[in-house]
Symmetry: C2
Subunit: 177 residues, 2 copies
């Protein structure tokens, strides 16, 4: 799912600027399972405009750079719908933290404990964040991914709580690498 298609997805929820779209990927419900920065969003929007998948309206604002508001076209919706019916690539997780745990034996015990606690906090915080989200008038799809996220984050957070001492002691008991 390339960034262009993801932008189309965001635009089905209403007119938005490149900056707005970035917010969806950084905060918002999207951020937990797809990311994109300005460096990919702006080129993607330019290409989408070029291909007639979106239209653009420039909104002048006092002082600040003009806001370019994008709206999805029928062609754009058709493109998104078609893409959603094509084969999907498997999920991909990138975790420096799990790599670190794998090589935990090479890390100073105090530092490893700190990293572990940070990791636990991140999962606990994400679970809490999703739980606190407003649910009124939210689409069933959004509701579903929210609940799946809560399940995932909280089960991992619990596992990390339950196995903290066991891991931190075993990883530094008389072995290398």
């Amino acid at each position: 799912m390339d960034v262009k298609t993801l932008c189309l997805g965001v635009l089905t929820m209403g007119e938005a600027s490149g900056y707005d779209i970035r917010q969806y990927f950084e905060k918002g419900p999207f951020s937990h399972f797809c990311q994109a920065g300005y460096g990919s969003i702006y080129p993607a929007l330019a290409k989408a405009l070029d291909e007639g998948l979106v239209t653009c309206r420039t909104e002048s604002q006092g002082g600040r750079p003009d806001k370019k508001m994008y709206t999805i076209t029928e062609t754009g919706e058709a493109h998104l719908k078609a893409r959603l019916h094509q084969p999907l690539t498997p999920d991909r997780i990138r975790s420096d933290y799990l790599v670190s745990f794998l090589f935990g034996g090479m890390i100073e015990p105090e530092h490893l404990a700190k990293v572990y606690d940070d990791y636990h906090k991140a999962f606990a915080d994400n679970a809490a964040l999703l739980s606190s989200l407003e649910c009124d008038g939210v689409s069933p799809g959004r509701m579903f991914v929210r609940e799946l996220g809560i399940t995932m984050y909280s089960s991992v957070a619990k596992h990390l709580s339950d196995n903290r001492e066991q891991f931190l002691t075993s990883v530094h008991s008389g072995e290398k690498s």
Copy 2:
């Protein structure tokens, strides 16, 4: 954590070729939380060799291209260890499936059900795969990430089982987008 550093990590477990390293990232315990293809591994090894982080030994084989066996150096180990004590970037999940569920209203019911079942199968399979792994003589770090993976995969698989009908009906009950 760039590919060069990840390669060093693999090499702490013993001498390996670029092809071998690829296997670790495609199958093996690594594949679940970091990925890398030939296009990033070979350049990374060349750079690591250039910087003295690894040494290289060419193994001739009848017919097939020569095998280049890489070994991590002390400098390489120091580099890896230093990296493991530096700040880590947060985990990142990319899921076309969750994007699809978010826009489930735009997908034909039969197709959405198929996608859903594929997704469930992927999690169930991964949980089973990790559970079936040999544990004799495995390092505590490897053991830990394996168990965390089992927890994560099976909790999500269970959630997907438990909420299948609810999701598939609600997403197509009189609404758009």
